[in-house]
């Protein structure tokens, strides 16, 4: 069905790992989604297209944009951990929110939760998170520009 086809394409674009898994075992698509044979064939063709790597990169760049714009110190403090943290965050929140402050606020909450669970990061992460999460929260409040 079309809804599953579109969702599968979005999921593949968000996950190079899923693309690789489908390349190895195309039947995975039919197990995860309700697809016609034609839709499954189309997805398999897309996954094998050389441009798919670029789609995956652009997806990650687009999702990184609100985080880099609104939490630059936190991103810098995360350093080499940023790749893994961002990937985990996107897996946890597979859809981006169009409101950049909501997206950044959600990311800050995610990092805070990871720290609370015992995940360790570089020494600057805690202070960067405190400062920028407060700034993002304030910007989010101010974006309520009109009466409810």
């Amino acid at each position: 069905m079309l809804a599953d086809f579109q969702q599968a394409l979005a999921d593949l674009t968000a996950s190079p790992e899923l693309c690789m898994a489908v390349k190895i075992d195309p039947s995975l698509l039919m197990r995860r989604y309700q697809l016609t044979d034609r839709e499954a064939g189309r997805l398999e063709g897309i996954v094998r297209h050389p441009g798919m790597a670029c789609s995956c990169m652009v997806y990650r760049a687009n999702r990184l944009a609100p985080l880099a714009l609104n939490t630059p110190r936190l991103c810098k403090a995360l350093g080499h951990d940023l790749r893994a943290v961002a990937s985990d965050y996107w897996a946890d929140h597979p859809q981006s929110n169009v409101h950049f402050y909501v997206e950044a606020d959600r990311f800050c909450r995610f990092v805070r939760r990871e720290i609370a669970r015992g995940r360790s990061f570089g020494p600057e992460v805690g202070s960067a998170l405190e400062i920028e999460s407060a700034q993002v929260a304030a910007a989010l409040r101010e974006s309520h520009t009109e009466a409810a």
């Binding site: 579109q6 652009v58 929110n97 520009t145």
Partner: protein, 299 residues
Amino acid sequence: MTRPTVGLLYNPVSPLLIAQAPDLVEYLGVMPDRLWYDFGPNAQGRRFHRTLGAIDELRRCAEGRLTAGHGIGLSLPSAMPLDEAFVDAVAELAADIGFSWFSEHLSVFITPKGAVPNAQAGLGLPIAYDDEVYGIVAGKAARLRQALGCPIALENGAFFTPVPDPDMTEPQFLNRLHAEGRCETLLDLHNLYVNWRNGGETPEAYIAQLDPAAVIEIHLGGGDDFAGFYMDSHSSLTPEPVWETAFAHVAGFPNLRAITYEFQETYYEDLADGLIPELERMHELAETWAPRRRLAHAG
């Protein structure tokens, strides 16, 4: 019909450029999605909060200029119902600013199984050009036209991975929408260039399939190379091959109303010296429209 207008896709630095060259900017394409904060359908209280200062500034810039809306958030090809609250918000802005038409993208931005309609896929995804998707797009375009009270256009996308095994080509899909009175075409010439640079068909081959009467607006713009691909990043002036395509075809679009340059505002300082010459060249392009049209009528 007069020659097409020349203008910009409005962004936060557009007022600076308009102040420098007010006579060169006759038209503004306005993205409603950039003029409000969308708290989503589950928001407590009001969902859309307008960026009031930005809208006031837009009103000042729009005075005496043709305007049209250019949206990204409705995702017409998505296999899900139209976001009616979003449509209402667009309609409110369209009435306020006075949009002469409204365009959207021929791409999937919102995935059907997402939890909330204002969450996006993170990228404009390609669509399958078949009857099922056609029915969805045609129905939503008709509804949108009814709600906004102005013509609707759809823009061809820039894709790295076209959907294989289509029933029709993208130009055939757009032609059918036009022929059945559903909507018109916003032809992004830079997107054609992007697709060609990344292994797709040539812009010439694409335009040869397109009904020229469907085209009411064209987009110009520039991009850059990244990781072996050419990106539609709106980071540069219009590349020379795109100009060549534009000069070769503009006169052949009898219903063309606007020639629009789009750039990302974060590149404004890098582009600043080139923007006025870009607009001047767009005016030269617009001037090529009328003579050939008169000749066509004379013939």
